[in-house]
Symmetry: D2
Subunit: 240 residues, 4 copies
């Protein structure tokens, strides 16, 4: 499928934390980019420390779907660029929000809520089982009843989001929590998908099933046709 | 609250299975009825083996909210009575569907799907933790992050229902499954709530939190005002 | 797009009412079939008076998307065939429900409600303007703010359906009514789209825009991948 | 019902436009306040030109439901106060957004979209008919098939909002447009209702039916019980 994807990664943990660098020596965007390229997509990478965070108007205009991962530096993303990305989503660009980007400015902006959740006091390795609740949805294509991630960080409910328009996945955690981990939204002309997994110290983004969900989501979020919307004034009554 | 509630119970297990009779000697409707009465509601009990299953037109007309539990004899419920209950829901009666009544004719009729799900091959006692995902919803009133049932039967996804209009609760099971366990629907003028717990061999319906959910749901499902709907013909154009 | 479509038409008005035959001499399925074929789809036609209404298990198994038009003989459709179609939808076949098929058994079955509505006492020719409320949805692809049908029958709210999961179109009628005229649902693995226009005495199904909506809907409703669902028993706890 | 309501009005048109002052000499908040008081609610009025726009933390903490009307001075509302109101909604305060407040910062903030729409180039007096599409909803309590406003300003689709969680009303306009005019949302613990009518040059807020919708909406939006949410850390795995 001929899609133009921009993978945005904060790309800080990989520089500052050896533990993370050991898992993702080229950045956690690298395996995602490689997989989407292997599916025939045109992939560009953009990161926080580039000018305009790599998200110039030209880049966004040339992007069908943007994926977003951030964690330790949400506050450093410029409000102006957040507004630019938001407008581009409303104009039809797809957006895939990954893991700790639940707290990114762009996701909070589009949701209107805090997007807060619960997590475990002391990080542990625990098993996550991601159940398919809407098997007919394109993002679930190719999966059986569930996919399992052997070691992940827990995110649990209450997740402070607007109720998803479509809930595709639900996570079970070994420690006793559940989470709405695959959530679809339409905002303006743009489609948004939040996907939970991807803690930076685990090799989650090398896992075949996780990459397949992201690829499915990118295809789903790409705009159909070239919808346009007219706002503003309508003819006066007498001309009808 | 001055509400008229009819508690419908299949009431067969309690007669044929000693294990169930030991837990619910007066039927599993008994503790539910007692609790709703303690909240000031007017409660009537109806069961499968009564004439018209206890659900005459007069009884239904005098019922604000009906609760339904069934399991081993779904097929013995007459189609005519199912149609009568369905019409009464569409006319504004609330309906609370409990546990194994996911497979009842009335729930399948109102959902339009099989309402199938997964369960455990050999029943075991396992822990169920029911997480509140919509804490602002009236059915969740009074609860913290979750309620826990020490021993229950597992129900798991995929649950073949239309996506709930509001998802209030999500269940976590010790054995690795999750379930949409508190699901709200509007059908016609009537409100419907499916609530998962209540396997007949466990004392679930004696648990204070479970009874409180049922009471909250009854209050939520009761019709507001006396809505009426007009269908059929409208004046011809020239009279407007 | 290589899709197998079965167009089901009651095909009675065309035989018994000269006024209808004049508009649709080959049946109102004919222009729909012609258009879908022109888009490269494989199209089969099935009608009420054929054995099994033309909807054998073999035909349904070989159908990606079924469209349904009926009006005067809903009651003659066999319950057994309705159950067969319902199961096939739950297994993933798309279903496009057209105009007066709002009262078809299959639509009522899948919705769980009466699907009643209001109409005009004496039929008149009036203008219908169908507004796009979800311009980013694939079924709205290619349309501006609205499409207009010069002469149609009015259908108005209250339309007794479950709230659509996605509402794509809203109709305005000259006589003062509105209607949710493009409604999407997921039931089981199947997608359902209700589309309002198509009164048998008007040449609605020759109108380019109407045909384009139907073609878009067929593409949207076709199953993605080959999803499967497992219901029933799960391993006992000790094997996990 | 013992509810504390704060009615927020921009209160500028009434000072600067004689045409508006003639209709609402005491501000367009006056008839709304009078009606809610007549229903037994405790009503406070707050306006743009007061310190902190009349919306101090103390006022908001003492408010169950806030109603909001603004038009010509959306940009003058301080971002800090908007953030304060947003947080209070997420904490459980109800919010009723009226007419041109579709473009208010607080509504855009909570929706995440532009909330843009179409209007008529040259304002005219035209008839609005507001159809009830969800007659079982508490906000529709007491109404028949529709309510009619003899002279109003037109707002039309596309309305750039997230799809309402419940759509209660749909407007028909004489000039050929439709609008989703009664839209319910849950954000955090707070309920939000957008209600379309109320152009400042028409006596809409004196009309009994319009006031009744607002009163119904206030009752619906008031928080149930005192829900609380816990975010943040959960016990480590080994303590479970």
């Amino acid at each position: 499928m001929d899609l133009k994807v921009t993978i945005w990664n904060e790309f800080r943990h990989e520089k500052s934390h050896e533990e993370v660098r050991n898992v993702y020596p080229d950045g956690l965007h690298a395996p995602i980019a490689a997989h989407l390229r292997s599916e025939g997509m045109t992939v560009r990478v953009a990161t926080l420390d580039e000018p305009e965070h790599g998200l110039t108007s030209a880049v966004l205009a040339d992007t069908d779907v943007l994926t977003w991962w951030g964690h330790m530096a949400h506050g450093e993303v410029s409000d102006e660029i957040v507004s630019r990305v938001q407008q581009r989503v409303l104009d039809g660009m797809g957006l895939i929000v990954l893991h700790s980007a639940h707290f990114s400015k762009i996701f909070q902006r589009l949701m209107g809520t805090t997007c807060n959740l619960i997590w475990r006091e002391r990080e542990v390795e625990e098993r996550e089982r991601i159940w398919v609740v809407e098997p007919g949805h394109p993002i679930a294509a190719g999966f059986g009843p569930y996919l399992e991630i052997p070691r992940e960080e827990m995110y649990g409910e209450r997740f402070d989001i607007p109720a998803p328009e479509t809930l595709v996945f639900l996570s079970w955690f070994q420690g006793g929590e559940v989470f709405r981990s695959g959530c679809c939204y339409q905002r303006g002309l743009g489609k948004i998908f939040y996907f939970r997994p991807g803690h930076e110290t685990f090799p989650t983004y090398y896992q075949k099933e996780v990459l397949q969900v992201i690829a499915n989501a990118v295809k789903w979020a790409a705009a159909t046709g070239t919808p346009t919307v007219t706002f503003g004034s309508r003819p006066p009554l007498e001309q009808l």
